[in-house]
């Protein structure tokens, strides 16, 4: 509990360093075993930050479909490995296909779960952290807005799908081709909604003097503590060592 409090209380810039290290390892590493090690590390760190298991499992479940599709595509279109399931002369499931699909899904999982660590900081703290890194306030503010609005966007997409079905579109009875066409209709209200929200938000912040002065004063200034340096530095050094040992 105390450890979780110490980790969630870290400077948002330290958390950004941590997320960048994990995501970079996810992109750089190619071998499934190594990606599995980084995935385990990411999960352990997420637990230290008090990120719940349920949202992680829910997000992971969504990736099973991607895993199955990737496994088949990679097995069919790449040569090599042992074929486990054959359709005539074509290998539908092969060891290479499974390995590559596993790699893709592990990378996605590392990025998704490591990003959830950032959600343990408030948007205000993230903006302040980025500003103190000399990132223009407008850009930092946009990052915070994006973090704030992503869950809303998901909620909106679900509500739009409900509204579409209530128009008498029985999704479960439609063949896949038509069902994909239905999903394409979801894009229009979502894009229109985002555009209208951004316009309203832009107007609202300008009306509240968003760019009235070239310099901004912050009531709360972030000051990294020794624990921040230890965690951030430790992660960077750890990444260097890990890559040096592996390659």
């Amino acid at each position: 509990m105390i450890l979780t409090e110490r980790f969630t209380g870290l400077d948002p810039r330290t958390k950004l360093v941590l997320v960048m290290v994990l995501s970079s390892l996810g992109v750089i590493l190619q071998e499934v075993l190594l990606l599995g090690i980084v995935w385990f590390l990411t999960l352990s760190l997420a637990a230290l930050f008090g990120v719940g298991w349920r949202p992680i499992l829910r997000r992971s479940r969504m990736l099973f479909g991607i895993f199955a599709a990737m496994a088949i595509i990679q097995s069919v279109f790449t040569t090599g490995g042992h074929g486990f399931l054959w359709l005539g002369p074509v290998s539908v499931i092969s060891s290479l296909g499974l390995e590559r699909a596993g790699g893709v899904v592990l990378r996605l999982l590392i990025v998704v779960v490591s990003a959830s660590i950032m959600a343990t900081s408030s948007p205000r703290e993230i903006v302040q952290g980025l500003s103190q890194w000399r990132i223009p306030y407008e850009l930092a503010f946009m990052v915070a807005v994006a973090i704030r609005f992503l869950p809303l966007l998901r909620q909106e997409a679900l509500e739009t799908l409900t509204a579409l079905q209530l128009r008498g579109v029985a999704l479960e009875q439609l063949p896949w081709g038509r069902r994909l066409r239905v999903y394409s209709y979801l894009l229009m209200p979502m894009i229109a909604g985002v555009m209208s929200k951004s316009k309203e938000l832009a107007l609202a912040v300008e009306m509240r003097g968003f760019r009235a002065y070239s310099q901004r004063t912050a009531y709360r200034v972030l000051r990294p503590r020794p624990f921040d340096y230890a965690v951030g530095g430790g992660m960077l050094v750890g990444m260097g060592l890990f890559l040096w040992i592996v390659y």
């Binding site: 509500e159 739009t160 409900t162 509204a163 579409l164 079905q165 209530l166 128009r167 008498g168 579109v169 029985a170 999704l171 479960e172 009875q173 439609l174 038509r178 066409r181 239905v182 209709y185 979801l186 229009m188 209200p189 229109a192 909604g193 209208s196």
Partner: protein, 192 residues
Amino acid sequence: MIGPNGSGKTTLGKVLAGILKPTEGRAFLAGKDTRTLSLGAIGQAVGYLFQEPERQIFAPSVYEELAFVLRLQGKPPDVIDHAVNTMLGRFDLSALRDRFPFSLSRGEKQRLALAAVLVNSPDYLILDEPTTGLDLKNKRRLGGYLEELLDAGVGMMIISHDRAFATGYATRVIELSGGVVIRDSDRTLHRA
């Protein structure tokens, strides 16, 4: 269904339309528990007009907005064309048929959303705050459409905090407050 903001009108409407599942009790549609019906199946019998018309606009043109569901249902092109043109005429949207729906005025969007719900010929309508954001002229116009539908035998539930508008067409008035029914005319009245 009338009552102040936050009294539970929309929640009850969503339960009846199967959007929300009841935590207690059951909602039935033509004798079937809504929990056992898919949203698509409910949508074919019940038309639901959301409070925000933008929530139910999906296509890049007014014509397409009315046509795409019929197309997905596999209706022949001449049937679709006839149904869409009838709705465009009925809701004064013919001049706007090629317009981008999201650039329409609030009143026009409301008419389009209602036309899109009706093009599916539902047996019953649930209209959630249909007068929100409408000026007097558009409110009267909407009232005229509703009269036509009632005369055509389409059943409807109007959810509104606009007591005068809702009760003007009602044969039964239910009043909610704090999630509880506080008044129910509980008998068939004559339309005002």
